[in-house]
């Protein structure tokens, strides 16, 4: 049976982890490569780096981080943040990323989705969607790291990028992000039931039960979390053990 994936996400700024894990044995807690290695050995199913470096001059450091991670962790690595062009995608893949996540650039230039999927294969292209609830069963997407609203309907947008060849959707609920009150399972299930490609749930996870809800209520194929792992509240193993106890298939 296909397993539900648990994906830890690291925010990286100028090559350094922004919110790091307090692992005892870590020599350098700010080194994304060191953190990635730990998640890798703990049984993470994939890794995700979100580059939040503001200045493009400092982006070179990210490539080095991606390269070193790929040399040490033999599980899939998704890298996103500031990906604007085919050339950006190409450079990340060349340095060892397995998938590239595109957010703002896909909204501003929807053709990029199809072009990227055709050139590198659908499975390489993840479309990151930041969605915020308007009212009943309707969400709009935001760009620029959630700072800029749009009048684009999130569900329609997900259907469109799926049709254009996106391989999966990384769906973040802006209402839930950072709240620890659980995924927006209504958003998740609405998107997941509207498209054929996998949906990665993101935003709001605060306890083990939330992971279960993401799968059972939200219909997510994968669950992404950041702070819950970084602050050592739960390990990847805790999450997987709990999911397995609830009869959800995970890779142990």
């Amino acid at each position: 049976m296909l397993k539900k994936r648990i994906i830890p996400c690291l925010d990286v700024d100028r090559g350094r982890v922004v919110k790091g894990v307090n692992f005892v044995d870590l020599i350098d807690a700010g080194d994304p490569v060191e953190q990635a290695k730990i998640y890798n050995s703990e049984g993470a199913d994939e890794l995700c780096f979100l580059d939040i470096t503001a200045s493009s001059d400092d982006r070179e450091t990210l490539f080095e981080v991606v390269k070193k991670t790929a040399e040490n962790c033999f599980i899939p690595l998704t890298v996103g943040g500031g990906v604007r062009t085919i050339d950006d995608i190409s450079r990340l893949l060349h340095h060892g990323a397995d998938k590239v996540s595109i957010n703002t650039a896909a909204v501003e230039n929807i053709d990029l989705v199809g072009k990227a999927a055709k050139k590198y294969g659908s499975s390489t292209i993840v479309i990151a969607v930041d969605a915020k609830k308007n009212g009943d069963k309707s969400w709009n997407i935001y760009t620029h790291g959630g700072r800029k609203p749009t009048d684009i309907d999130a569900i329609e947008y997900c259907i469109e990028v799926a049709n254009l060849g996106a391989g999966e959707i990384l769906l973040t609920s802006m209402d839930r992000d950072g709240t620890k009150i659980g995924f927006d399972t209504e958003l998740l299930s609405t998107v997941s039931s509207s498209i054929d490609i996998p949906v990665i749930a993101s935003g709001g996870v605060g306890n083990l039960e939330h992971f279960v809800e993401g799968v059972l209520k939200g219909g997510a194929s994968a669950l992404l979390a950041a702070s819950i792992f970084h602050f050592g509240e739960y390990s990847i193993k805790d999450v997987k053990t709990y999911l397995a106890e609830q009869n959800i298939a995970v890779r142990i």
Partner: protein, 212 residues
């Protein structure tokens, strides 16, 4: 001994290279690993690896665009029977044809065709993530337990004409070919380079393999 990883611009080339390097470094007699698309170097290879992600036709076109690449591959793999491993689309290319985006001819080294995964509506396509693999006993599967998880990403699969050429399968929920084998030609639908410890074991098995 030389192991050649074919470089035709495939997206997973770097990952494949790094994974083979990591396993190879622990061998008593490591291979010289060469990443190349030069026919003369391919002709000198003792073992070959063909990575591949993306669309079947794009990969095939990329290979045929490089002068003499396919011919040299054919000579070493079919003519001289050197050990060969294809990964993902690199494995699908061994088929006679693919039906992805219209019909497209493959290498035709293993009888069968590449067709769309047929799954119930609530099964997401691509088949993406870790899934259990069952296999027929073979030295390429040494030290792997039945039902071990490997990482898959694909929407099409290789339906071999002969059962004997399909040595491993996964379920989604119908059986899907996970690995093929014909004499010196081996291929995996899953990504060993992304399948953590068990993926490295498959790579090690291939490095140690001496097809008879």
């Amino acid at each position: 001994m030389k192991l050649v990883i074919i470089n035709y611009g495939s997206g997973n080339l770097h990952s494949v290279h790094k994974a083979f390097e990591a396993v190879n470094n622990n061998l008593e007699n490591p291979y010289e690993i060469i990443v190349t698309n030069t026919p003369s170097e391919i002709l000198n290879a003792d073992k070959l690896v063909l990575p591949g992600v993306g669309a079947f036709q794009d990969c095939k076109n990329a290979i045929h665009k490089i002068d003499g690449l396919f011919e040299s591959l054919e000579q070493v793999v079919i003519g001289e029977k050197k050990a060969f491993m294809g990964i993902c689309v690199g494995m699908q290319l061994l088929a006679e044809k693919s039906l992805e985006f219209g019909e497209c001819e493959g290498f035709g080294w293993i009888p069968g065709e590449v067709i769309k995964i047929e799954a119930p509506a609530d099964y997401k396509i691509p088949h993406m993530g870790w899934n259990e693999v069952t296999f027929r006993k073979h030295e390429l599967m040494n030290n792997i337990s039945q039902n071990t998880d490997f990482y898959f990403v694909h929407s099409y699969y290789f339906r071999t004409q002969k059962n004997q050429n399909c040595i491993a399968t996964t379920k989604y929920p119908n059986p899907i070919t996970a690995a093929v084998l014909k004499e010196n030609i081996f291929g995996t639908q899953f990504h060993p380079e992304k399948s953590h410890i068990n993926g490295k074991q498959i790579i090690l098995n291939f490095l140690e393999w001496e097809p008879s």
